[in-house]
């Protein structure tokens, strides 16, 4: 992404007074979740009628300074600079909503949490001394208070609109914390684990995608991270990951396969679940 232009431009259409302002920021991420917002083609016009898009570099280089009424943040915190930046963003935001697996769980880049980052930088970069990075990739909520976390890699378009709409209406977003299996059954999909012996993370994965993969005969990859919500001791109240492992084994996965299945976009969150219960 480019940096902000030095002179903020004024939008052609002066904002109607009282329209809430929306800002979108990114940290370490692939831009996919922001693109989901741009992908809301049919609703974008209505959205721009309801909010003033004050900061959204993926869409326009015209930016306005905060404070913002609703801020969406994509990406995880992987550098000291981002750790500082997210504090500033928080300070400038009335409501801060994190979107996507990076922002809510550290993303695929949290694989570094299980390894030696210096070793990586030495192996990958010709001049590792140019790299200024943290040893871990962490969710935004590990740094600042977050008003709502929307899961997914990427987030679901329908859910993103629901969250934005809910914040505009001043109500709680209707985003369920249950497993993908709920959506799978509602959709009428034949369970791939029970009927085909295909390994599936659906029973421990947070709903949101509409059980997309099982509908195409594939097991769930866990894009939305662990189901449920954090309990008092940190782990999810609704995930019993250790109980699923024997089923994955039954369906032909060895320990290495299971590890690979769990170490994707939400690796840190799933890791916490296996720690929690074992």
């Amino acid at each position: 992404m480019t940096t902000s232009p030095t002179t903020p431009t004024t939008p052609a259409d002066p904002a109607a007074p009282g329209r809430p302002t929306l800002a979108v920021f990114k940290l370490a991420s692939c831009d996919g979740c922001q693109l989901t917002l741009l992908d809301c083609e049919d609703e974008l016009l209505a959205l721009s009628g309801e909010v003033e898009i004050a900061h959204f570099l993926e869409a326009t280089s015209a930016v306005r300074p905060g404070p913002y009424d609703l801020t969406l943040v994509e990406g995880s915190v992987t550098t000291p600079a981002d750790a500082e930046r997210i504090r500033q963003i928080r300070a400038a935001s009335r409501h801060l909503v994190t979107i996507g697996a990076c922002a809510t769980a550290g993303g695929i880049q949290a694989l570094r949490n299980f390894a030696d980052v210096e070793e990586f930088t030495r192996a990958v970069y010709a001049r590792p001394d140019y790299i200024d990075t943290l040893a871990t990739s962490t969710p935004v909520s590990a740094h600042v208070d977050v008003d709502f976390e929307l899961r997914g890699c990427p987030v679901d378009r329908r859910q993103l609109l629901e969250v934005v709409t809910a914040f505009l209406a001043g109500r709680k977003p209707d985003i369920s914390d249950h497993s993908v299996c709920f959506e799978c059954k509602r959709r009428g999909t034949v369970c791939v684990t029970v009927a085909h012996g295909t390994p599936c993370l659906g029973p421990v994965t947070h709903a949101g995608c509409g059980a997309l993969c099982p509908a195409y005969g594939r097991g769930c990859y866990g894009c939305f991270g662990p189901a449920g919500r954090p309990g008092p001791s940190g782990g999810s109240l609704s995930v019993n990951l250790p109980a699923l492992i024997p089923v994955l084994h039954r369906d032909g996965m060895d320990d290495r396969d299971v590890e690979r299945l769990l170490r994707t976009f939400n690796s840190a969150a799933f890791h916490a679940e296996s720690e929690e219960d074992s």
Binding site: A46, H178, F182, K185, V190, C191, T193, V194, A195, L237
Partner: protein, 395 residues
């Protein structure tokens, strides 16, 4: 055609495969959405069909806890399978339904419109005896009390039920021990029993309503001969003896009420994923929640009803958090409601023994096994207590 004593009086006759095809065709011609068993995605699902050719001729199923596989059948039977991944609840009590919508005009005037239930007239082909009982239970729950589900009521009133008696119960079936069985005598418009022997592949058909008799009168059928009646009786009686599982013969309501602090709940909670599959596939589970949908402008709002489950944290959410946050308390809610408090609420058990929750649980948790364990625990504790009392008496 046999001679009919009086128009609309119950009749018994025999249909061959062409006769069955004519039955489906007649229901379609009647303008009904015919839903029946058909093979899709490696399972015998319930889906709209427009001809009897879509029935699962030659397919059977192999069922176990957490396990479902299709298998070929040499005899070419259409109905030699048992409960599949869905039940009729998917059609009568759909997973999501709009209740009302509201619009705010420019001047602020609010118009609220009730959403009339979709005008659909179903014919269900292949309703198993356990599912007939499940439908009767949902009738009581959703239309028998003070709060009526009008959408359900409409769909139910208009539905034509073609029951099929069971000839090949699965290893997870236990309807007999729940007071039912593979045969049925009421609650249907037509009931079929599939018979395949030296005399051919045919269906004994009985009518159970005037509408059923009227339809049967239109079909190419033959008189119900003694051999076919006898063969039908035998296959159903054999099926009753071939139940894969049994619920222990105890007073389940009392057992549940007395087991609230059982240790077994911890044991099952260690295995349960709280994924909710058991409630979603259960033909009697009826719980719903409502969702409010607003558009970006806030000028249009809708209220929808959607399936909920006691395995969802939100199900017991009060201010501050869920009341039933542990897996233990959620599994216990499911079982004690199903087998215990259901009696207090609706005067019957909430379980008909279809075995779906056993098959479709990814980790294969088995309701009959859990009850057996709870009973064993209650017996041991009872004995222990009894023993203590005796010792105290001795002292």
């Amino acid at each position: 055609m046999t001679s009919t004593p009086a128009a609309g009086a119950p009749r018994t006759a025999v249909l061959d495969k062409d006769g069955l095809a004519a039955l489906v065709a007649a229901l379609v011609a009647d303008g009904r959405t015919v839903v029946g068993p058909t093979v899709r995605d490696g399972a015998i699902v319930l889906a709209p069909i427009d001809s009897a050719e879509q029935l699962p001729y030659g397919w059977g199923v192999e069922l176990e806890a957490g396990h479902y596989r299709l298998s070929h059948r040499e005899d070419g039977a259409a109905f030699a399978h048992s409960a599949g991944p869905q039940s009729w609840k998917n059609f009568l009590h759909p997973q999501r339904e709009k209740l009302w919508s509201a619009d705010r005009a420019k001047d602020g005037e609010l118009t609220v419109r009730a959403e009339p239930p979709e005008a659909v007239s179903y014919a269900f082909l292949g309703v198993r005896p356990c599912d007939l009982r499940a439908i009767a239970i949902q009738d009581r729950v959703l239309t028998g009390g003070h709060f009526r589900d009008t959408g359900y009521g409409e769909r139910r009133r208009g539905a034509f039920l073609v029951a099929v008696e069971c000839t090949a119960p699965g290893a997870t079936c236990f309807c007999v021990s729940m007071g039912g069985g593979p045969g049925t005598d009421s609650g249907f418009d037509l009931a079929l029993t599939e018979v395949i022997d030296g005399a051919g592949h045919r269906f004994l058909v009985r009518s159970g309503s005037e509408a059923g008799t009227a339809l049967l009168d239109q079909l190419p059928c033959t008189a119900a001969d003694r051999e076919t009646r006898q063969a039908a009786r035998t296959v159903v009686a054999d099926a009753a003896d071939a139940m894969g599982r049994a619920m222990p013969p105890v007073d389940l309501q009392r057992l549940m009420g007395g087991s609230l602090e059982a240790e077994r709940w911890d044991d099952v909670a260690a295995r349960c994923l709280t994924c909710g599959n058991c409630t979603m596939v259960c033909p009697t589970c009826f719980c719903t929640t409502t969702e409010e949908v607003t558009d970006l402008t806030g000028d249009h709002a809708e209220r929808w009803q959607r399936w909920d489950s006691c395995f969802d944290l939100d199900f017991s959410h009060l201010h501050g958090g869920p009341v039933r946050s542990s897996g233990r308390s959620r599994y216990r809610q499911w079982l004690t409601h199903k087998l215990g408090t259901w009696h207090d609420q609706f005067d019957s058990s909430g379980c008909v023994g279809c075995g779906r929750c056993i098959v479709w649980c990814p980790v294969g948790i088995d309701i009959t096994e859990e009850v057996t364990a709870l009973k064993a625990e209650a017996d041991t504790k009872g004995h222990a207590q009894h023993g203590t009392h005796e010792k105290e008496a001795e002292r």
